[in-house]
């Protein structure tokens, strides 16, 4: 069965690489926000100030990091599922000998690998810049923690987005729901700015929610030098969220496919 999902990932990867316009869009999407944020925060924190405990160097790495995560982790499965449910494309997957959620997950893996390949040159330049400028000292253990956190972010993001996309089984048009979701999740995940910038009571709330694990937590692992104990505790909570989301995915899949059958034939 693993062979099947590897084949789906491969097809997804090839599709991205075959589409030249998506390559250009991807490069622009990754580069422009990173460069803008780099100059903006370099200017704001030019005189040694800190914001939310972040120095200039840390905040620059933070923004490069969240954009990196945005490119490699955040796959728009919710938008895709919404389209596939309403266009009826989902039927093409239902009658294939493959589990729907695993099919989309394998597709995401291929798509993200394509991103990784395409953005590798920029990524290498970014890493070299950080190393040459000596902006960050990291141990091997932190690097491993970071790599694991990124993978967990991808899994958690997929499960969460899959649940949101499945709402399309029950509603005709998710366009505005998905737009609002995007803004809220970007805010609560720390994509716009580090969560520590928010008022303390809001920080407390965000720490109880799963969204911090989408981007804030992996970057904090890299930038803030979290203790192993703190990292393990957070990773445990992240895994618990993943289990909860997985159970919800199974429920919405079962109920949703029944619903699809009732109204979207």
């Amino acid at each position: 069965m693993l062979k099947t999902y590897r084949a789906v990932s491969k097809i997804s990867l090839k599709s991205i690489l075959a589409n030249k316009s998506s390559v250009v869009i991807l490069l622009l999407q990754a580069l422009v926000p990173s460069i803008v944020m780099f100059y903006l925060w370099s200017l704001i924190l030019n005189h040694g100030q800190t914001v939310g405990g972040f120095t200039k160097n840390q905040i620059v790495i933070y923004y490069i990091g969240v954009n990196f995560i945005n490119s490699f982790v955040w796959y728009a499965i919710d938008w895709e599922l919404n389209d596939d449910i309403h266009s009826g494309e989902l039927s093409n997957i239902i009658h294939r000998p493959i589990a729907i959620e695993k099919y989309y997950f394998a597709k995401m893996v291929g798509d993200r690998l394509a991103n990784l390949l395409l953005l590798a040159p920029i990524l290498i330049i970014g890493i070299l810049y950080i190393l040459v400028k000596n902006l960050l000292q990291i141990s091997l253990i932190v690097l491993l923690e970071f790599a694991f956190s990124i993978i967990m972010s991808a899994v958690l993001w997929f499960l969460f987005s899959y649940i949101i996309g499945s709402v399309a089984y029950w509603f005709d048009n998710l366009f505005f729901v998905l737009l609002v979701k995007e803004v809220l999740v970007n805010l609560l995940a720390g994509f716009y700015f580090p969560l520590e910038i928010l008022p303390p009571f809001l920080v407390k709330i965000t720490k109880c929610l799963p969204f911090q694990y989408f981007s804030s937590f992996p970057i904090d692992t890299l930038v803030k030098g979290l203790s192993l104990q703190s990292w393990l505790k957070n990773t445990g909570i992240e895994i618990a969220w993943a289990v909860i989301f997985y159970v919800i995915v199974q429920i919405v899949n079962r109920k949703g496919l029944q619903r699809y059958s009732d109204v979207m034939g």
């Binding site: 099947t4 084949a7 097809i11 075959a18 294939r96 059958s261």
Partner: protein, 328 residues
Amino acid sequence: MGENAIEVHDLSKKYVVATRGETWHAIAKNIFKPERTVVNAVKSLNFTIKPGEKVGFIGQNGAGKTTTIKMLTGTLFPSSGYCRVNGFDPTKRTNDFKKSISVVMGNRSQLFPDLTPRDYLKLLQSMYDISETSFQETVNNLARVLNVTRKLDTQTRKLSLGERMKIEFLAGVATRPKVLFLDEPTIGLDVLAKRDIRKFLLQLNKEEKLTVFLTSHDMEDIATICDRLIIANHGEIMWNGQKQDLLDKFSSNKYITFDKSETFAEKNIEGKIINQDDLTITIKVPNEEVDDMIAFLAKNKQGSNYQINELKLEDIILELFAEENQKC
């Protein structure tokens, strides 16, 4: 697997459809209390199909053809009744069931536009867990029959509609299904592509005993491919039997088509008028009265250019629908 490839018992499907008014009041009301209507797409269908049969499932738009295919393939759950395909309950959606069937829909492509057909076929090979050598051999043979060997490595979006459909067919049967469901498979295709696909299906049915369940508005598809017909109207079956029996039932009549003359008057026509416009008319006449009828029409200068035709399958089906609608 039982004796039958497909068994359908009291199969029904109701859809819940949201309806919306046009006034502001209706729109506001709809937010809090959406109005829903229940549509009976399929009403208590019963039929069985034996392995190797080629069955045409015919009906007007909204007759429930696609809904029935979707229930048989496990995409939709029946509202009541049940069906078995290759001995499996489609609602369980088991992988063994999915591997035993294939679906080709003329109005929905399953190919990946940015990739080549070969990429798609390789994915199917992995999904259906077929050995590479055997799969390649099947694909090459089928591609040769369908005349698309050189198209297997062309980007799908660069293929013509006919070529894409042939690839869909190829992909549909390359996984070696026992039952092939075809929903409007030749829609929009040219005569040559249709001919190739029909030949291909007949050959495959003969060699592999593949069961074919076909819906199409193109009666040439049905007439060429199918031995048996199931005709549905408003979700109910109105004919279930051999194609030849249906043709025989209507073989005692012929159609006379002629150009109307200036002195043409409808009151002079004794046969049943099937179709007419300003210039031509078609009437149905019993076989033994054809010569007399033409002589009568000619003598009374009702028209010219008389043509006598056997009733084609399309004519018969139209007559069946007309009869049924009169009963309603």
